[in-house]
Amino acid sequence: MADLLVYSEKTQTACELAAKGREFAQALGLGVSAAALGEGAAAAAPELGAAGADRVFVSEDPALAGWPADAVAAALAQIAAEAGATVVLLGSTRRGKELAGRLAEKLGAGAVTDVNALELEGGEFVAARYAFGGATIAREKVASDVRVFAIMPKTFSAEGASPGAGTVITPALQLATGMKVVERRAKEGGAVSLDAAPRIVGVGRGFGKKEDLALGEELAAALEAVVGCTKSLADFQWLGEDRIIGLSGAKTSPDLYVGVGISGQVQHTVGVASAKLIAAINKDKEAPIFQMADYGIVGDLYEVVPAVIERLKAV
């Protein structure tokens, strides 16, 4: 029997893939396998079953600690062979994207990464992703016997999933890694999760200096939003790399995105294009951000943002 195999080191993302994967698998007459790998992976098995997996391959092999791409790819290639997988859906997180190329190479497969839409057309998968720095959307088919798709988190929903049997399988894997984890330490100030943020305030070069970003933080606080930025602000080291939204950072899909002092270069806006509502504050009426905004304020952010914060307090 042939299977569709899903994997992400993030259980939530893996469940999204299992839920949608089950729909695809039914249309194609395939079963659904999921893989749970690394330290504590066994705990994810029941969730993956509930999300749609018929079989959950679990391995806590020490070589998988820290998810090195070489060992995780080896594990998935062996699981794919055992499950007879013809389609592999991965989460396009940083780790998942790094993994995709290595696994695809092992499987002799074509792969598409950063997929933000995947559909079956006449029994064939068509995957969409941004191309040309975000200016276009490329729709791609994979022609190899096994197909690998790395899919952006939140592309699919795990809600209302039809459960699978969730039978746990402990495969005998031959694994080794060259990667040695010297140290893992928690980030100061905790993690910033833009991927899952319901509201985001994006800040850009309209801010004249680092200290002024406090105004953006204040707006974010008033909106209960998380602050993200353009790549250039991270390049100035005004904000960390984990705050970057766009091609080289997070691809988000919040309910509300407010771009402040952001001109709207496509390299940034690809990261917010799927926001439900886009708002922008910019002094240049011709700024490209207004072409993709639902609501815009043309004005000096140093005057407008305090006025908006004031108004929000009254709501």
Binding site: A69, D70, R95, E98, A100, G101, R102, A104, E105, A109, G110, T113, D114, A131, F132, G133, A135, I137, A138, R139, V142, A143, S144, M179, K180, V181, V182, R185, A186, K187, G190, A191, R199, K231, A234, D235, Q237, E241, S248, D255, L256, Q265, V266, Q267, A273, L277, A279, F290, Q291, M292, A293, D294, Y295, G296, I297, D300, V304, A307, L312, V315
Partner: protein, 259 residues
Amino acid sequence: MDIVVCVKTNPDPQMVRIRNREPVLEAVPYKLGDLDKNALEAAIQVRDAVGGKVVAVTVAETNRKIKETVKEALAMGADEAVIVDDPAAMTLDQAAVATVIAAAVKKLPACDLLLFGEGSSDNYTGQVPSRVAEKLGVPQVGYARKVEAAEGAVRCERSMDEMIETLELPLPAAVTVVSEINEPRIPSLMHIMKAGSKPTQVWTLADIGVDAAALAPKQEVVSNLAEEQDRKHVLFEGAAAEQAAAFVDALVKEGVVGR
């Protein structure tokens, strides 16, 4: 340490215009990828710290001015360049590029460390470094924001979700870098002039023992069009207080604030 930096030249995405939803590539100049320059800078710094050589490797594909584009890598400080240019390697998918690069690297006399940008400036698939690492059977680390030579190894730091990881790979190894790692140097006029005399080899597929049949595409692009935006485009002008009031009212009506 013998360091190979794999670089891609592509039409400058900032210069790609859209006409009737189609990207217009005519007269768009090719340039080195932004992150490829970060990888070059990282390679130059490692070489300058421990000695060795930096070789820039690229596949020409449709860039007919490849030598000119690659000269920038030499001007920055790479010691040599290798270009694979072949009529059978004009349009390649990521698996095919990886096949070509891996074969070119094998032909080089030595390679301890492979450096890449984490993605190209145009399509950003991030597949090629991982595929090359697999083809060469070497371990890999992606998204490094620090790279330094250690004893028989390379030590990298990267930021993943809530953790900062310090990782070590035995050589040979493959590493991709993010833009945070450094500020790529801008070559001086003197370095640009010197770059022309640095060794640049141009190899065909036959030179690296790759059969064109091995480059058959595994993927097909069905369409590549600009997105159609369906947005409201309501602009508020006037005094800041009035704008703010109208703006916040709109957000309340949309149900995104005040609940």
